[in-house]
């Protein structure tokens, strides 16, 4: 009777300790482990928040089979940096924009964070952020890609992103005429 009670208590405390841990361990597709603050993970990723709330977080590393170690490292890096950064004035009071977009410009550290990524790593990160339901990280990474497209000619965009020109000659000519109004040099 007493033994049982003691065992029960021990289990209880272990459970409490588990729930109290302030990090979660994530496992990439190639088996590498990463620790990330539970608070940040739950705040930044809807998918991880769901897993934490639903108790499907594995102490020995929650398997994320779709995400490679490089991308996961970036995700974890982003979460930790985000946990440490204080939202700047720019993030709180962005300029008056009356379109539907609630998008806020990337902060300085977020800019630096995506700027140092290689092409592949950037697209990997977009996919990882999409998979994990990380709204803000998706915004920041997509913003970076759109910045890379800005101010370039169609040929330059194709070259940068390896996009195949799937237009026929006639189609291309038609589109060029259709969009002629958009190209104007002072």
């Amino acid at each position: 009777m007493e033994v049982d009670k003691g065992k029960g208590e021990a289990e209880e405390t272990r459970k409490v300790a588990e729930a109290d841990r302030d990090t979660v361990t994530l496992k990439s597709s190639d088996g590498k482990l990463f620790e990330v603050s539970k608070e940040a993970a739950a705040r930044l990723s809807t998918v991880l928040a769901g897993m934490i709330a639903g108790g499907s977080i594995d102490d020995n590393g929650t398997d994320l089979k779709q995400i490679g170690s490089e991308a996961l490292e970036n995700v974890v890096d982003y979460c930790n940096k985000h946990a440490n950064s204080i939202p700047s004035a720019a993030l709180i009071s962005s300029s008056i924009s009356f379109n539907t977009a609630p998008f806020k410009e990337p902060e300085e550290w977020e800019r630096k964070f995506v700027d140092r990524l290689s092409h592949d790593a950037l697209f990997d990160l977009v996919e990882a952020a999409n998979f994990l339901g990380m709204e803000r990280l998706l915004d920041v990474t997509c913003h970076k890609i759109s910045e890379m497209m800005k101010g370039k000619s169609p040929d330059q965009i194709r070259e940068v992103f390896n996009i195949k020109n799937d237009y026929t000659k006639e189609e291309l000519e038609e589109i060029r005429q259709e969009l002629a109004w958009a190209f104007y040099d002072d």
Binding site: A101, V126, G151, Y167
Partner: protein, 330 residues
Amino acid sequence: MRKPARRRSSLIKGSRGGDVSKASRLVFGHGGGVDAFDRLPDDLVLAVLAGVAAHAASPADLAAAAMTCRRFRELAAHPVVLSRASAAAVAVRAARWSEAAHRFLRRCADAGNLHACYFLGMVSFYCLGGSSNRATGTARLARAASGGHAAALYALAVMRFNGSGGAGKADRDPRGGVALCARAAWLGHVPALRELGHCIQDGYGARRDVAAGRRLLLHAAAHELSVAEDDDEDAASRFMVEWWALRGTIEKSSVAAAGGEGGDDAEKRRLCSQARCGRRETRRHEFRRCSVCGTASYCSRACQAMDWKRAHRGQCGPAAARWLAAGNAF
């Protein structure tokens, strides 16, 4: 509203090939020579294109993206992208006006883009002319104004003050103009603030309060000083100025040739003398004249004051200048 539901993305991923290829494709990225966007579902490409539209420095940025491949062209026409286009992205130039440009602006405006609503509203009302274009122009401006577009509010105010599009002086609505001006000024629109100051100072469409009006005018003058010269460049005004400059040469020759289809009326309608405004009378004697020389005409007191500072002071004649400087030292 901004982006379609992201759920779709997993469906799209799942539908491409079996599990093995999916895993390797997702995990190890793409090798050289593979389209980087092939891996992204449509909703993410939409988010990227919306970013291009939102930060575009000219219409060419979005057009270039649309020209790269079929998929981009299709997605670039999506309302999610068009609704986010920046003011610069919808700033069509008068020399490039075409049915295709008109269509693009209509699509943007219909997608709820307030910059496009304002731009197209101004172009329809003042440049395209005719009662049906004026009506749709006013509706577009009203759409932009109700979304909180300050320049559109001010544009509607100018129309109310002048009774633009109406038959005569009886269509002027100073009270309506003041109400719209107040809303635009509240949103930081400086010409509206100046106009409002004059109205309150003179008791035009509002209760007269000389001190309060004067205070607003001083505020407006202070704002104007802090804003760099080119910052106040309005794409719609630039379009209208260029439009009339182009038409000026064309119309004269065509009116002469065609025997003037409505031409004699059009000839006598004046442009606002403030060189960067671009508004044109919708009927004869709609605009106010410079009370000294009587040759310059203005759509609004805001334009008159600005032109006085920039140019008219030197053109109006030295005696007149002395007189005005003494009486109107704002």
